[in-house]
Amino acid sequence: MKPRILIIEDDRKMSEALVVGLQEAGYDMDTAASGEEGFYLAHKQRPDLLLLDLTLPHRNGLEILKQLRAEGIDMRVLILTSHNTVEDRVEGLRAGADDYLGKPFSFPELLARIDALLRRVLPPTEANTYGIGDLSLDTKARTAARKGEMLDLTPREFDLLLYFVQNRGRIVSREMLARDVWRETSRFTPIDNVIDVQIARLRKKIDDPFPVKLLQTVRGLGFCLREPS
């Protein structure tokens, strides 16, 4: 059975785009444009995950969340909001949200978060070795090899590659890299420059000497480590 996601979002275009994208990613979708409708659907449909916009007409998203939690309704909740400050984030998590994504977000990241919340992917820390194609990583020794050849990577390059391997086959956005690899709180111009340079360096080491290119740039979206089909 496909996981069911309910989107409570008053911006119709955003909501439509999410429905299309998430359906394609293999979810069943419901949408509500107002808090009341969303609350009703959450009750009735019992979706597996709720995508909640905080700035809704008539009723604030946080109120809905608090009420759902107060009634003991158990579902994953991911907040989507343009009020993206630390305070808002804390308030949202305190109200019972499982995750928080500031608008504008990258769609690949939303997919990754949803997958993580619905446990469709394994938590990345459990394995010691990762691999994709002829590329393999040992997280204990912090070494990487391709076709048995050891790759000489800096610590940052290793972290970056590990992140790609953990998200293999998925598109990884710059926001994700900035936050998860560089531990920056937000994406900004200098970090974008740094990411581009670092990716180019990594690509030189893991792809340039080999005929099959694994690390791809997906223009407009980010990067993806995958075996070309």
Binding site: D11, K13, M14, A17, L18, V20, G21, E24, T55, L80, S82, H83, T85, K103, P104, F105, S106, F107, P108, L110, R156, I171, W182, T185, S186, R187, F188, T189, P190, I191, N193, V194, V197, Q198, A200, R201, V218, R219, G220, L221
Partner: protein
């Protein structure tokens, strides 16, 4: 010649006050003087007329037909003043028939003129041969079928002496009075203006960051109270405007984020589906521009956040050198790639108290900016040291790029200013350095591009350092 204009209000008030008082005293003195002169002259005329009438009764022709004055009359003590009088009697043919001894043979006035003293007592001032002035009354008097012209005068010297003394007294008294008035005026003005000084002190403390403070109003009904009230109203409006502006920026940024988020999601969802290469390129371009726009909106939000940040909040203390190390480590790879070396020389004993993440953005922007303008194989030098003469830490970031023109040196800190030197790909929204400036100034520092440095751009940042 430069006019004397005292700079402070108190002295100016006092000088005006003294000047007006001086003018009033002068007018007053002139009027009193003139009035006194006129009264005394009238008095003299009156006395002289009395005297002439008296004298008329005392004149007689002796047995030789010579005009005589009965002297026994003057033995009366109350008339002793009359000894000072000058008298002359003429007949119609202008022959002098009698001349008082006090005249010592001098004539009391020139020849008689037509109608002199005919009907009335004619008065005039006559100058004697010895130079003294005499106030003379003429009167025609018929006696023993003869018509006599009696001229009687008093010397003006005693009167003039008296007036002169009076004038001297005024001339001494007026400056003394003015001096006293100046001292009093200065004291009064000082007392009256003390609330203004208090208000000035208070107003000086009120800056853009603590606009919620107000002036204290001692008495709301007097002029100063009304002024303070008006000033407080102004402050309230200013505060409201500032808040509105801050809210506007953040509201606008949020409102921009919503459609941006939709555009981005729509584009990204579209890209994840099958589409022809041309359409794909269009969507990719749209997404790239959206990303730039997002960056600008984020910067605007950051600016409004900094503007809303008070400088006196509870902020962590951190080592400036750590922060600089962090920044240079982050940028090291880019530097290496474009063959720009970065030299950091840092005094490890400098701590500042500020919002670390904001300060990081501020310093990162400046360093990143230096990198943007650095040619290959050049060096960026970052120096952090304590300024010995003050409690300030100094961070100098200099590059070997083309440097800044004098007009750019100021403008680079303006919002949305993008210079002409950068290539399109490196061009940001032009908010980076304005964020740096706002952050540095918000935490009590200063930032500027050094104008004496010729070989590149040199940014000098001063921050209050902890002891």
């Amino acid at each position: 010649m430069k006019r004397f204009t005292p700079t402070n209000l108190r002295s100016r008030l006092t000088s005006w006050y003294v000047a007006v008082l001086a003018l009033l005293l002068l007018v007053y003195a002139t009027i009193v003087f003139a009035f006194q002169y006129a009264v005394l002259t009238r008095q003299m005329l009156h006395d002289e007329i009395q005297d002439v009438v008296t004298v008329e009764g005392l004149l007689y022709f002796d047995s030789f037909g010579k005009l005589q004055l009965r002297q026994d009359y003057f033995s009366r003590p109350q008339s002793h003043l009359l000894v000072d009088r000058y008298m002359e009697v003429r007949d119609r043919a202008d022959n002098v028939l009698f001349s008082s001894p006090t005249l010592h043979g001098m004539r009391l006035g020139g020849p008689s003129y037509q109608g002199e003293g005919d009907r009335d007592f004619a008065e005039r001032i006559v100058r004697l041969d010895d130079g003294s002035h005499v106030f003379v009354v003429s009167h025609v008097h018929g006696m023993d079928d003869r018509t006599l012209l009696i001229r009687l005068g008093y010397s003006l010297a005693p009167l003039r002496d008296r007036m002169w003394q009076f004038l001297l007294l005024l001339l001494i008294a007026i400056p003394v009075a003015l001096a006293l008035a100046a001292i009093a005026g200065q004291t009064i003005a000082k007392r009256a203006l003390r609330p203004v000084d208090d208000m000035t002190d208070r107003a000086t403390q009120i800056t853009a960051t603590n606009l919620h403070d107000r002036l204290l109003i001692a008495n709301p009904d007097d002029e100063l109270g009304r002024m303070a009230t008006a000033f407080n109203h102004l402050l309230s409006r200013l505060e409201a405007a500032f808040q509105q502006l801050g809210r506007f920026t953040s509201d606008a940024a949020h409102e921009l984020r919503t459609p941006l988020a939709s555009i981005r999601t729509m584009g990204e969802v579209a890209l994840s589906r099958e589409m022809d290469a041309n359409s794909r390129r269009v969507v990719e371009d749209i997404l790239e521009e959206t990303s730039r726009l997002s960056g600008t909106v984020d910067s605007l939000l950051l600016l409004s956040r900094v503007e809303a940040t008070g400088a006196t909040g509870q902020f962590e203390k951190f080592q400036l050198c750590d922060l600089l190390n962090e920044i240079t480590a982050l940028l090291a790879l880019m530097m290496e790639e474009s063959r720009v070396s970065l030299e950091l020389s840092c005094d490890t004993n400098i701590f500042v108290q500020a919002d670390r993440s904001l300060m990081r953005v501020a310093l990162l922007n400046v360093t990143h900016n230096a990198w943007k303008f650095s040619p290959s194989d050049s060096t960026i030098r970052v120096v952090c040291r304590r300024v010995e003469s003050s409690a300030m830490a100094e961070v100098v970031i200099e590059d070997e790029g083309e440097g800044l023109s004098p007009e750019d040196r100021e403008k680079v800190f303006e919002r949305f200013y993008t210079g002409t030197a950068t290539s399109q790909s490196q061009k940001g929204a032009g908010l980076g350095l304005s964020i740096s400036k706002l952050v540095v100034e918000r935490f009590g520092g200063s930032i500027e591009f050094n104008s004496e440095y010729k070989s590149g751009a040199r940014c000098v940042i001063h921050l209050p350092a902890l002891k």
